[in-house]
Symmetry: C2
Amino acid sequence: MSHTLGVRQAQKLKTRRALLDAALGLLEEQSLSSLGLREVTRAVGVAPTAFYRHFHSTADLGVALVEEALGGLHPMIRTTVSEVDDSEERIARAVGLIARHVDAFPAHVRFIARERHGGVQPVREAIQEQLARFAREVRDELAKDPQSAGWSEDDLLMLAHLYVDQMLVTASLFLEAPPAPSPERERVTRLATRQLRLISIGRRHWLD
Amino acid sequence: MSHTLGVRQAQKLKTRRALLDAALGLLEEQSLSSLGLREVTRAVGVAPTAFYRHFHSTADLGVALVEEALGGLHPMIRTTVSEVDDSEERIARAVGLIARHVDAFPAHVRFIARERHGGVQPVREAIQEQLARFAREVRDELAKDPQSAGWSEDDLLMLAHLYVDQMLVTASLFLEAPPAPSPERERVTRLATRQLRLISIGRRHWLD
DNA sequence: AATTCCGGAGAACAGTTGTTAACTGCATGG
DNA sequence: CCATGCAGTTAACAACTGTTCTCCGGAATT
């Protein structure tokens, strides 16, 4: 059964969260490779040395942020893809889901987009690994679809990568657009929807 | 007529080039937002203060790098797209062109991929502007194609964005893959080719 | 030939960085 | 209840940062 973890360990986790959140905030206007450990601790209101109790370095913290930003998304991806039999309404639902996720976790999304090709190798690798996992999962879901009859595993993975990359492009467009109800926002939604539609059409006629 | 610019201005341009090249080198393993001006001048072998004779800041240098990396690519893009009537051979040619460009200017390509969503606003904006220009130019070329009959301007622009984004994704895959003759490399080529093919198929059946 | 212009050097500034060591206080397990 | 463990503190370190001001030498202009 779940042992309501002691006062001590709870405090540690709280500080850790504060460090992660502060870093995430600071990373909205800079890259991880320029994020200083003192900068983070200062923002939290804790001594610089306290940082070492939680992370070896800022790169280490970055890897933790990757896990936090993408680690929990796998179920969401799977169910979303399995729902998509490329009917118009399902595409709209997928785009809406991306939009809402960006609204809910803008800092996480920005972090991933920024560090995917960023200057910190371990973080880049962690992100690539997660994205590759997404692609394989999408492929597996696609394989279940009757529309995938006759497709090779390789071609399904190629399509999956296309979907995953497209998802990221769309997310970063939503990030740049002003939130809530704005014309920019609508334009991004329409754009992403039609792009997904075009890919779906290509998918449908792939075996011709 | 062209006035063979004086000894003085020539030396200035030479130093400027050295600064840009040194920065490009240093940026292979870090982001622009962590690039220090002293770091750059040290690499060139010049006094820190000399930097100010050429750029206001490292952000300013970054904007110059964007112009250098993307500014001269527009003709190449135009002709490449106009050649693409989505025959299989032409797709292969486009992918090969991207691969060769990445081989020829890896540092520039890395810089663009990294700073497109990077931590330095003016640089991000300069890149977005160039990419938006690419998209409009691609749309214009697509519009000339008889296959685009019946397409709205907006739908053509949506397809153009898809092509541009796909080009960047492909370029960054080539960047990560080991160079010259490697199996990784072949995999990327095959992947990119098939993704372009799928998009072409979607394009062909868009009006159904 | 004399004067102006200007790219670069030099030194100094206050402020920042990561990392170390030795400490304090308090929750924890025996 | 006492001894241990450990999150967080304090102080100090050498090294680094961007920026200013003053100066130099040689090309450019007149």
